[in-house]
């Protein structure tokens, strides 16, 4: 990957009172790359996600996306810039149908219609609604959710809800997509399909930043892996090197743990 960085995390620090959740985090994401952020529980991965997408303001440091400094931008503004995200747990509007979920996420694709257009059902609003319905059908088709379109999103299986979460993010037409533990709660075949989906999204031109605990999946899909431990960046390398990186192994298993176990696990990946 020699492309220019699309996202730059520049010496970000995050403190919650006396707790330092992230210390001096810095990495780049190249355009068209699939980059994974890994680390043991509490390493600061989700905090990093929340900082990048504007849900948390970093104590110091900055995040730049396509040359725009994201400092002080609210999450909805960040989303409008083309940086979309999914969430770990609550990832859908549970009471609405899958179709309405995606319609809702197409909010940004307003085609210029405002409150007054909506109030008087002006042509602009009607055109916008028609286009949103078309686009919703496309997205659902892309993710294989068409048969579930009219089911309440909350009634879907965990794996399907994750897909709806991705559908919501894709609806914002992102240039970069942040996925927070997308395959947790999925079975092996669902995970397999999801990897294919991630690749397809990347091949369609969307850069991907992934946080995931499923090591085999991370190893299989990533171009590069960034490893965090206790808020510190401890490795930044392609999967093959991460497998054998002593600092990463130590972070996951502790200093005295037999290296054979991690090697075994990673070898299976």
């Amino acid at each position: 990957m020699s492309a220019a960085p699309i996202l730059t995390v520049n010496h970000v620090e995050m403190r919650f009172g006396g707790l330092r959740a992230i210390a001096d985090l810095h990495f780049d994401v190249a355009e068209g790359e699939i980059l994974s952020l890994i680390g043991p529980n509490g390493a600061g991965k989700t905090t990093a996600f929340n900082i990048i997408t504007g849900y948390l303001k970093p104590t110091s440091g900055e995040v730049c996306f396509r040359g725009t400094n994201l400092a002080g931008l609210s999450p909805n503004r960040v989303s409008r810039l083309g940086l979309a995200r999914t969430f770990q747990r609550t990832s859908v509007f549970a009471n609405d149908t899958v179709f309405d979920n995606v319609m809702l996420a197409l909010h940004g694709a307003a085609h210029g219609a405002g409150v007054l257009d909506a109030l008087f059902n002006l042509p602009r609003e009607r055109r916008g609604e028609a286009r949103r319905r078309e686009r919703t059908a496309e997205i659902l088709d892309q993710l294989g959710l068409t048969s579930r379109a009219y089911a309440p999103a909350g009634s879907l299986s965990y794996g399907e809800q994750r897909l709806v979460g991705v559908a919501l993010a894709l609806a914002t037409d992102p240039t970069m997509l942040l996925l927070d533990e997308p395959v947790s709660g999925m079975n092996a075949s669902e995970t397999h399909n999801f990897v294919r989906l991630i690749r397809a999204i990347r091949d369609a031109g969307t850069t991907i930043l992934l946080v995931e605990h499923d090591m085999p999946m991370v190893m299989a899909v990533s171009d590069r892996i960034v490893c965090l431990n206790h808020g510190q960046l401890i490795a930044n390398a392609p999967p093959a090197e991460i497998r054998t990186n002593p600092a990463v192994i130590e972070a996951y298993l502790g200093k005295s743990a037999a290296t054979t176990r991690i090697e075994e696990e990673l070898a299976h990946a």
């Binding site: 609550t90 909506a118 609604e129 919501l168």
Partner: protein, 345 residues
């Protein structure tokens, strides 16, 4: 099923004055209707965005005072010896001023309180209502304070072919109330159905997720509060020109509670909800009057409300819808054994 209720109610109400001539009954319906407009406006905020305005009557009262003062005229001394003199304008202009001013107040309250979520909006609205009440009570030169603004002119409407008519009779005022209520209902129905309505639903259900797909939560809430307050202002204006006398008691907390009761018992977040609640709590006082004193009536209201919420926690409209949905499901042929086995796995 509850979507058939609003048009049905409209037909009944349009025909009603042809049969009902009793001025007492019409008066009760007009009063109830005016507060139902308040309930419709409150439902837009409370039902569709989940934000509780406990000072909603402030916007109603501001509308009432704005409309009354615009049509009465006033002569007030401000600081530094400046006097503001306003000649009386037609009541219809007062109505427009009421809507705009109440909407502006809703906008300001929204801007102040929606930057942070949680109980702030509730607290700010309570405080706002109390402040406005105290102003109405103490700015005697403008509002006459507890002496009340009296002789507020009746609403006058221009006729299509010139000239104008003064709404003197109960039936005329009834139709005016009905027209404004219908308009407010249609505005809410339009707003909640399209892109804006989805944004409201989204931020109510899952705010972080709504933000992640680019919905400006603060802006959506502020716009909703503005529209809601403007409608409450319209109701206030109708109140002022119908009763022709207003005092600071229009800001009483009880009236906010009345609107909330109408919304909650009918079903918040549904279009028919405030109408159903409005009908029940407009008719109840009329039906109970021959049998009990006003004090005893309050106890019955309380009992009815508790009963409704006990039997239908989400309110009557969602309950009716679910009941019909169940009945329809029962009438369909039972799914085959294969399908049922499949559903179980």
């Amino acid at each position: 099923m509850s979507r058939y209720f609003p048009p049905l109610l409209l037909v009944i109400l349009v025909l009603l004055p042809l049969f009902v001539k009793d001025p007492y009954l019409l008066n009760a319906l007009i009063t109830g209707g005016i507060f139902t407009i308040g309930a419709i406006s409150l439902n837009l905020l409370l039902g569709f965005t989940g934000q509780l305005s406990l000072g909603h009557i402030a916007f109603f009262g501001i509308g009432a005072y704005a409309s009354a003062l615009t049509s009465l005229g006033f002569d007030v001394g401000l600081f530094g010896g400046v006097r503001v003199v306003h000649e009386a304008w037609p009541p219809l202009v007062g109505f427009v001023v009421a809507v705009v001013l109440a909407g502006a107040c809703g906008f300001i309250v929204g801007r102040l309180s929606f930057r942070v979520r949680g109980a702030y909006f509730v607290i700010v609205t309570i405080a706002f209502a109390e402040v406005v009440r105290l102003v109405a009570l103490n700015w005697i030169e403008l509002t006459q304070g507890p002496l009340a603004l009296t002789s507020i002119p009746q609403m006058r409407l221009g006729l299509p072919f010139g000239g104008e008519t003064v709404l003197r009779t109960k039936a005329q005022n009834f139709y005016l109330m009905l027209a404004v209520a219908t308009l407010c209902y249609l505005v809410v129905a339009r707003l909640v159905s399209g892109r804006f309505g989805r944004a409201m639903r989204g931020l109510k259900e899952n705010e972080p997720l709504a933000m992640s797909v680019g919905i400006d939560v603060t802006r959506t809430l502020t716009i909703t509060a503005t529209i809601s307050a403007a409608m409450a202002g319209a109701a206030g204006s109708l109140y002022a020109h119908y009763f022709r006398i207003i005092d600071p008691d229009v800001f009483l907390f009880t009236y906010t509670v009345t609107m909330i009761i109408m919304v909650v018992s009918g079903g918040k977040g549904t279009l028919a909800g405030p109408l159903i609640g409005g009908v029940i709590f407009s008719i109840l006082p009329v039906t109970l009057r021959p049998y009990m004193a006003p004090e005893a009536q309050w106890i019955v209201y309380g009992a009815v409300l508790i009963l409704i919420l006990f039997l239908t926690p989400k309110g009557l409209a969602p309950y009716v819808d679910e009941w019909f949905a169940r009945r329809r499901a029962n009438r369909l042929p039972a799914p085959s054994i294969d399908a049922r086995a499949e559903a179980r796995t």
